[in-house]
């Protein structure tokens, strides 16, 4: 998915769709750009890695393990999505 022409809100909506697969009862949670993955959305460690995998597949990016450690909010994930593209094998 090419995000270069997408607004932050549009990317948030895409990520929210991924979160619904990774977190039980995610539709009951309001997901915004400042939402914290653990404290606000309730994602657990395995769910977080599932989200990373889904995001890599959807946005055709590769997220390094050190980058994963720094993803605390939706904004952090969007910054990586928009950041310098490291083309993954599925691009």
């Amino acid at each position: 998915m090419d995000t270069s022409a997408m607004t932050d809100d549009q990317i948030v909506a895409q990520i929210a769709g991924l979160i619904r697969k990774c977190v039980p009862d995610a539709q009951a949670v309001a997901i915004g750009i400042d939402s914290r993955l653990v404290e606000d959305i309730g994602i657990d460690s395995l769910g977080a890695y599932e989200l990373i995998m889904e995001a890599e597949d959807l946005f055709h990016i590769e997220i390094t393990d050190s980058q994963v450690e720094g993803i605390k909010t939706i904004a952090d994930l969007i910054a990586i999505v928009r950041g310098p593209i490291v083309q993954g094998p599925n691009a």
């Binding site: 769709g17 039980p24 890695y49 990373i52 995998m53 890599e56 597949d57 094998p89």
Partner: protein, 416 residues
């Protein structure tokens, strides 16, 4: 048998997800009409397969379970969960105050999460950096029973028999034993399968076990018929809530049927073919009758395993003849797989649900696609729905299942 190890066991909930319908009532209505749930497989991968037939569940799983559970559960577990919810809700046990430690789950499967396993393998060999972090947990055969135990709060044990095509009945037999031994007070039992995948279709096809009757899919699975050529793979799940009759009556629960007995044996013969004389299959039937404390003459009908293979159907017919002797003259033997296809680990449970519904209706269901009958098979096979002979206050039926590897399980069901 010591009194402490015998107890009458009641059915208080049923659930069914299968190609004939996605509730016990819908599936039975289609079954009783003589409908079939088998069709041509239209996926691109099936185009060149000579046995591109299957019995598919027609459901929007995301609409039924939501994104999270569909993402976290292999398709076989999704079916198991849906069927279990039906049975559990029907039983009313969620309002009964039953302690979690007194509730168990026994949910069988033949191969478990094969779809997940193969999807993840495809990711691996295509060079994807990441695999699903829960791929192993989704693929494991106990995933369904684990998910169901979470859903209903069962802390009295979560078990997952893996006995190929006999698993769905074996789960029921283990549930009976848990209740008779008073290890628990209620148990949700069943079986589930979803293996309509190129690898499974090709694998069974290499064994020459599948029908390739593409010109008329509805008649492709032909149990006991002279022109039978193999089975058709289907998917789905059956679930049944069992509890001791005394407990069901004490809480005024709806009793849908009784599980009278079970017999389990093993052929010790071959990984994939039954003993040709059906010696131990006959013994499973006899043991079930003895466990139920009824005689062969009391049985109204047998719901056969009969998958539509030349070897298997003949072996089962011999087993039935051995177990029933002269009583076979008055016995109907009906084969649900002509309508349903073969649900592998789910077969024994889904077909038990259909058997229970037939007992409730007082009917021996038509054995779809079973004519012209193989002259080597000397059984009375109904070519239309027949009434159960009512010579007592109860109607009895046997459900047979025989699995690759020589697993033989027979169950005796009775009307309530």
């Amino acid at each position: 048998m010591p009194e402490s190890l015998s107890a009458q066991v009641a059915v208080t909930g049923l659930g069914c997800i299968c190609p004939l319908g996605n509730t016990p009532e819908a599936a039975y209505s289609a079954y009783a009409r003589g409908d079939t749930g088998i069709s041509l497989l239209t996926e691109p991968w099936a185009e060149t397969f000579k046995s591109r037939l299957g019995g598919l569940v027609k459901l929007d799983m995301v609409a039924e379970l939501g994104d999270y559970l569909v993402s976290r559960l292999d398709r076989f577990s999704q079916f198991a969960l849906l069927a279990s919810r039906q049975a559990w809700n029907a039983s009313g046990l969620h309002n009964s105050g039953l302690a979690p430690e007194r509730l168990a789950v026994v949910m069988a499967t033949g191969i478990g999460g094969i779809n997940t396993m193969l999807e993840q393998h495809q990711r691996l060999i295509s060079g994807a950096k990441r695999l699903h972090p829960l791929g192993i947990a989704m693929a494991m055969p106990n995933a369904a029973t684990a998910q169901i135990s979470m859903e209903i709060g069962a802390c009295g044990g979560a078990h997952a028999p893996v006995s190929a095509c006999a698993g769905g009945a074996e789960a029921i037999a283990w549930g009976l034993m848990l209740l008779e031994a008073r290890k628990v007070d209620a148990v949700l039992v069943g079986g589930a399968e979803s293996a309509i995948h190129p690898l499974a279709i090709r694998g069974f096809s290499e064994m020459r076990a599948l029908s390739s009757r593409l010109d008329d899919p509805a008649s492709s699975c032909r149990p006991f018929a002279a022109d039978r050529e193999g089975f058709v793979l289907s998917e789905g799940a059956g679930a049944i809530v069992l509890e001791r009759l005394e407990d069901a009556r004490a809480r005024h629960a709806p009793v849908q049927a009784l599980l009278m007995g079970a017999g389990m044996t093993s052929d010790a013969h071959h990984l994939a073919t039954p003993h040709p004389e059906g010696v131990h299959a006959a013994r499973a039937i006899s043991l079930a009758l003895r466990d139920a404390d009824i005689s062969a003459q009391d049985v109204n009908f047998i719901s056969a395993h009969a998958t539509g293979t030349r070897i298997g159907d003949l072996a089962e017919s011999r087993a039935i003849e051995t177990a029933f002797g002269a009583s076979i003259q008055d016995l109907w033997v009906t084969a649900p797989k002509g309508a349903l296809g073969h649900l592998l680990g789910g077969a024994g449970s889904v077909e038990s649900v259909l058997t229970i519904k037939a007992l409730q209706a007082g009917v021996v269901p038509v054995s779809v696609n079973s004519i012209p009958r193989d002259p080597e098979i000397g059984l009375n096979i109904p070519t239309a729905s027949e009434p159960c002979l009512v010579n007592s206050s109860q109607r009895f039926a046997i459900k047979n299942t025989f699995g690759f590897g020589g697993h033989n399980v027979s169950l005796v069901w009775a009307s309530a």
